[in-house]
Symmetry: C2
Subunit: 492 residues, 2 copies
């Protein structure tokens, strides 16, 4: 760079990137993304960089002078891409895989461009009203009644925290909004119930809200990893006798380890009788209710107080978009509404201001994603994709069942299979654990598949999740062949 160029840069006009530049780089990026998604199978699913590799390739000080976008784009290929674990890859079968989609990406692009903050109706009426409309659509799609009112939060962790907060708010004599919880001798310790298999976000929510880990009673599960209702009932009885106040139960439809489904219907009966808030965590599994023949997973949910379902997990929606439904929005509002002078508008009495229902004041225009995705794929198109995932999940688990050196470790109510290698003659649990840990690690090291694990009754178990938009039968076959081959190498 010579002095003149440098000088020219320093006197660049203020304001935004000029429109012609935005067009050029925008088109370039769209093409780059189209190629990226089209060629994703040529890349290793799991990034194979070492800790520090990315950081060490980047300057430790920010640039004083503007840099051309071309340089940034070059660095995406050179530096960023090798450090990406490709969640969109059809063989990303780890965690609860969540994939993006064309319409979802375009909606996010539009949302970033409008850049409205939907805290109030007035700060963009379209944001509030499209959220109302698309949540009404989504509610119908998963077969919930009109008794459920909805709001979009960022993540299931935050949705569930709001559920527990509402459960706490429901305890009118606690008046925790005003008085807090600490140092009071007029209230009992609070107890929340969830199964041993519930997600860690429930624990984090309870910690945040001052319930504490001791305030969570983990209810045992049956041999299919479902909460045992009679154990819940006994726990509540026991706690009441011992001076605790049972105030919230979290049932899970699709637990993280095995996708087990708690018996919501029976749990709901207990909660109704005891007047305890029932929250249903269906962050992953709830999406399957879009498939009519899967609607049974929501048996009893109508009796719950709230439920969280994440389109960003299994409905091809870029993170983040978590849907929270509750039958008691007034309680939620009572917990969180704080309308200070500078947020008052003349429409407050006739509109819904979503800021009243949560901890976050800033709200992205997320409903655009639901709108684009539901319209582009159609409800039947979405159902067809999920139905295919369910078929592939069952197919994979049937291969596991039929193979003499593998065993299935849990039922497969959705499309996630928990399994392990168990070759004839190896029955020592410690050996099996280390064998399976090694097997998973070797499979992942090929870069062709990414699987993660859990532990069930102390046993190391591999999980294979089929929920990616681009996952077809051949990808499940690739995973299966790899597992068999790598196991053979290990036991040779």
């Amino acid at each position: 760079m010579n002095f003149n160029e440098n000088h020219q840069r320093q006197i660049q006009p203020l304001g935004d990137m000029p429109p012609e530049e935005f067009r050029r780089y925008g088109h370039e990026l769209i093409d780059w993304i189209a190629d990226y998604l089209d060629n994703i199978e040529s890349m290793p699913v799991l990034s194979n960089v070492k800790p520090g590799d990315i950081k060490n390739n980047l300057p430790q000080n920010p640039p004083a002078e503007p840099q051309p976008m071309d340089k940034v784009f070059e660095d995406i290929d050179k530096i960023i891409l090798p450090g990406i674990t490709h969640w969109n890859h059809p063989n990303f079968m780890a965690y609860f895989n969540s994939t993006s989609s064309g319409p979802g990406i375009l909606a996010e692009l539009l949302s970033a461009s409008f850049n409205v903050n939907g805290m109030l109706w007035k700060t963009s009426p379209a944001s509030t009203e499209l959220e109302q409309v698309t949540l009404n659509w989504f509610r119908q799609m998963v077969g919930l009644s009109k008794n459920f009112w909805g709001i979009i939060y960022d993540t299931a962790s935050v949705s569930s925290m709001h559920a527990i907060a509402a459960a706490r708010e429901q305890l009118a004599d606690y008046n925790s909004r005003l008085k807090g919880l600490a140092g009071r001798n007029d209230i009992k310790r609070l107890r929340l119930y969830a199964s041993e298999q519930a997600h860690s976000s429930i624990d984090k929510g309870a910690i945040t809200l001052g319930v504490g880990l001791e305030g969570i009673r983990k209810i045992p599960v049956d041999n299919e990893f479902r909460m045992i209702p009679s154990a819940l009932k006994d726990a509540i009885e026991d706690d009441k006798k011992n001076g605790w106040l049972p105030f919230c139960v979290v049932a899970t439809v699709g637990t993280t380890s095995t996708t087990s489904i708690d018996p919501v219907d029976e749990i709901a009966e207990i909660c109704l009788k005891e007047n305890i808030w029932l929250h249903v965590d269906a962050a992953h599994g709830g999406i399957a209710a879009i498939v009519p023949e899967m609607r049974h997973i929501f048996k009893g949910v109508e009796k719950a107080d709230s439920i969280v379902i994440n389109p960003h997990k299994w409905m091809f929606t870029p993170v983040d978009l978590s849907v929270f439904f509750t039958k008691k929005p007034k309680v939620l509002k009572q917990a969180f509404s704080l309308v200070v002078e500078y947020l008052k508008t003349s429409e407050d009495s006739v509109v819904e201001n979503y800021m009243d229902y949560g901890i976050q004041l800033g709200r992205r225009f997320r409903s655009l994603k639901l709108w684009f995705i539901i319209r582009y794929f159609g409800v039947e198109g979405i159902a067809a994709r999920i139905r295919e995932h369910l078929r592939l999940g069952k197919l994979f688990s049937s291969w596991v069942d039929e193979h003499p050196s593998f065993e299935r470790m849990a039922p497969v109510p959705f499309s996630t299979t928990c399994f392990r290698a168990h070759p004839a003659g190896t029955d020592d649990e410690a050996s099996l654990n280390s064998l399976n840990e090694k097997l998973m690690s070797n499979v992942n090291s090929t870069g062709k598949v990414f699987l993660t694990h859990t532990k069930l009754n102390g046993k190391f178990v591999i999980r294979l999740v089929v929920s990616g938009l681009r996952t077809e039968e051949k990808h499940v076959e690739i995973a299966w062949e790899l597992l068999k081959n790598e196991l053979e190498k290990l036991i040779d």
Copy 2:
């Protein structure tokens, strides 16, 4: 639609939008956005739809069949656009205006396409390490020392809630993570301090965390709306005598109503002496520290425990991106880390897993936005833009000062002016309030400017904020002319 078309759609292949369609619609949308931003001044800043207008234009049931994207795009123009309040408009001078930028939009597009969840280092090393690098850059840009460790959250509300949570965690003998707060006779009531002018998110954080509204003691402000340190000191003494436990102070650098700056240095001395966590809310104002001659606003911040600064407010970053710095990341981690089996990775001992530091497990790849924006504008380019905003804010306030029918209601430490009309002869406060409410409403109704209000000592005050990327001197002039003209009409 005839049967054949219908049939054809039903058998559309599964999977994502085909690459050629993504390219076509992507290019179309990029062009649409370029035009939108280029023509934004031709649109009314504040949407003039009536409550229900958008909702009533949309179907109440989701489409069963896929719909072409063209139809969706048509509806953006027809239905969504009229319901947008244009935060990107150079005359959006309400709230703390936050505007998007070309590089920020492109980064969000890329982030939605990768769609990684950065909960763990392993789930995309580039996400974790680019966050570390860009936060290191940003820390240097605002002149904070290496003692501050950073993390990106979604909003300032959530950042501040984490600060208060860490303050609570710091009380080792409370052990609230384990024991919660309710029904214990071994702990005192908790007291948090913030000025009367602090943001409502502090109250929401305290409610959430079980501190309660009574647990917040609002400290009076001086005639420039800054917290009075001696009043803080007295309040702490008083509370200690009365059985409260002072545990957290929130000082604000740039309060929401007037952008007043609390005397952080003096407040910090009190907190150090009392061993109370000091959190600095610089969500809006902190960005100004990028301008070297404004660095004085952070006097004393080095003695604080944590600070929040929002690039999504005044650094041209699409919502959401809130930066939280703390000198005590270990306390934060202690409060929130919960590593269950299915989230364990072999790299845990050598990498940073950001999920350990917060309530949310799901984490978007937000650092791409910082990276694009800092590189595209350069630190000096960003500083130049903010410096110009500061100049324009001062210019506007000088016009107010010089005009006989207007008066300034607060100092202007940044680029926000609090003012009101005060025509000669009208001195009744109630009349002045209704005059100014009417004036603001009339100005906003023109669609040419959007201003919001606050109340200061019971007086209705109009705020004019200059922080938009596209705001130039002519836009401030437009606002000023409108205010004068509409006032003339009102007092005629």
